[in-house]
């Protein structure tokens, strides 16, 4: 049961092969077995999960089930879920029980999905390895000495370890795609504005986007269909006609133009990753695609631009954590200023503090034009590069991450080393484009490699088609790590 995809579970539930309660119990049992070794979940609440499963079964009995009613789902602990501890991987919110639901959680609940728990993540979504969580690191199910990637490391590891058939994640600089690549699963960051950020604890508001993580492209589409929708409470939420993102899965790929940016295949890319990605491209040629060499000349600016913009926005977004209305408050303080300073010093981890300091500095008097405004202008150059590229190709492909999973602790002493893990993913967030990662092979030591597919704005249906056709002729997405179901 628990090795089934979301699509298969949907069919099994509809055919009454199993009930939602049986399914939920099966996953709860497996989580109880494996979670202490992998650290995927911060919070599990069997009673709450089973109650939701019972409601889903009742809904099915009343003839009111939808395609995903009763299907289990894990939520990244960045989404407020009413009555659930919502920690954002931080000591600052380690006591915060959310009094309301995020829009994403509302939509999944309305579809009848069953919450298995809240997954571990880098603190406040800042990280690429899930090592900055207050609740301990997540271990990669393929090799437990290795990181799963981040910041949606818990969601990625849970799906890879078959502790959830699918999970929600968020992606600001690569935090869905990079952990998907490092754990051999699929993850998609939609076009900015498609999924509401209401109730999703904010890191960098102009970059954050929620998206699905699962084991197949088809499953991504099923969950994306549930997650996308206008929400008046998010001022950046787009109003667009509803669409079925899986409508084009079966289209043949003849005539597809795949752009390969030369900047994605330059120095810094590991040989194993390059080989697996090139094999994937060869497979796409067999499926009828033609390859177009393209260039994204300002790609090299994406990491510095991001590390000005994202910390700047984070410094503003995290100023709400002051010990007054919610979250951690210091036990001892002399006055209000001291209360703020100690609560924040105690509640935030080192990486979060580092980024707040960077952000505060680049927004401060005398530096705002030199750093923040300059970065916003360079951001437009980066977006323009993609716009030009999409005149010559339909989708862009390349590696998701320059390396496969690295050892826990290997990069945590040098922040810049860690930042470079996102070198291929960041530009996509800066431009607001949709991007996804799907598994395309393994390195010499059996660690997964991810292929990144970048589409033009609102082209998710085509991207899922492109991924699905590859998954019909390969089986990377069906491989499982040892020691899971």
């Amino acid at each position: 049961m628990s090795n089934a995809t979301l699509q298969e579970l949907s069919a099994q539930l509809a055919a009454k092969v199993c009930s939602s309660v049986e399914l939920a119990q099966d996953f709860i049992n497996k989580i109880n077995g494996l979670n202490k070794d992998l650290g995927c979940y911060i919070t599990v609440d069997a009673a709450r999960t089973l109650a939701q499963a019972q409601a889903a079964d009742a809904r099915r009995a009343a003839g009111q089930a939808g395609p995903l009613t009763g299907a289990p789902l894990a939520h990244k602990d960045i989404f407020c879920a009413k009555g659930w501890l919502t920690t954002c991987g931080s000591k600052m919110l380690s006591n915060f029980v959310a009094p309301y639901d995020a829009h994403v959680v509302e939509r999944c609940d309305a579809a009848g999905m069953v919450t298995l728990g809240k997954t571990n993540m880098d603190e406040f979504a800042m990280g690429s390895s899930n090592e900055t969580s207050f609740f301990g690191p997540v271990r990669n199910p393929w090799n437990r000495e290795m990181v799963p990637g981040g910041s949606s490391g818990g969601s990625a590891a849970a799906v890879a370890a078959r502790l959830a058939p699918a999970a929600t994640g968020t992606d600001t600089g690569g935090s869905i795609r990079q952990p998907a690549a490092l754990t051999g699963i699929c993850g998609l960051k939609p076009t900015y504005g498609l999924v509401s950020r209401y109730g999703m604890i904010a890191f960098a508001s102009s970059l954050d986007q929620a998206g699905p993580m699962a084991r197949t492209a088809e499953d991504l589409g099923l969950l994306l269909n549930v997650m996308v929708g206008h929400d008046a409470r998010d001022s950046t939420s787009l109003q667009r006609p509803a669409e079925d993102y899986n409508r084009d899965l079966a289209k043949p790929l003849n005539g597809l133009r795949v752009g390969l940016p030369k900047e994605f295949f330059a120095a810094g890319l590991s040989a194993d990753v390059q080989k697996a990605v090139e094999s994937a491209v060869a497979e796409y040629k067999k499926l009828g695609a033609t390859v177009v060499d393209i260039s994204l000349p300002n790609m090299g600016l994406s990491v510095p631009v991001y590390y000005v913009l994202a910390p700047a926005e984070a410094s503003s977004n995290l100023s709400r954590f002051d010990g007054v209305r919610y979250g951690h408050r210091a036990a001892e303080y002399t006055d209000l200023l001291d209360m703020y300073k100690r609560s924040r010093a105690e509640g935030f981890g080192a990486e979060v503090k580092r980024r707040i300091l960077i952000g505060t500095y680049v927004l401060s008097h005398g530096y705002y034009d030199a750093y923040y405004i300059r970065a916003q202008k360079l951001r437009r150059l980066i977006a323009q590069d993609f716009a030009a590229a999409f005149k010559q190709c339909d989708v862009i492909m390349g590696p998701t991450s320059p390396t496969t999973a690295f050892r826990i602790g290997e990069k945590s002493s040098d922040p810049v080393q860690m930042y470079l893990s996102d070198i291929y993913t960041i530009a996509v967030n800066l431009a607001g484009l949709p991007g996804m990662s799907i598994p395309c092979g393994f390195d010499g030591s059996g660690l997964p490699v991810g292929l990144q597919i970048v589409g033009n704005y609102f082209d998710e249906a085509r991207m899922l088609n492109v991924a699905h056709q590859y998954q019909l002729v390969t089986d990377w997405h069906q491989r499982a790590p040892k020691g899971v179901a």
Partner: protein, 111 residues
Amino acid sequence: MIPYAAFVFNGFFTPFMALTLDDVQRAAHLARIAVDNAEAETALTQLTRVFGLIEDMQAVDISGIEPMAHAQDLMLRLRDDVVTESDQRNLFQSVAPEVDAGLYLVPKVIE
């Protein structure tokens, strides 16, 4: 260690302005985060490295380019000026560190 210098940057190790401990402490004060001297030293080393990364932005010609805050050119949506929320103060204050009579309690500001 990823040899990213060839791929991305030149001048990585030459920051155009050196950060000082004062800069760190000033940012910490603005951000309302207590940073002791030892932490400030570590932060300075790490921030200097990050600013080395950022410096490569400075060389690019940006004349005539508009800043980009959002991928789509959107107008901020307006709504009618009517009350749509209900009073959920008790619920929202149930997670507060210290409340009394519907008020959040903090140390006195004016002596």
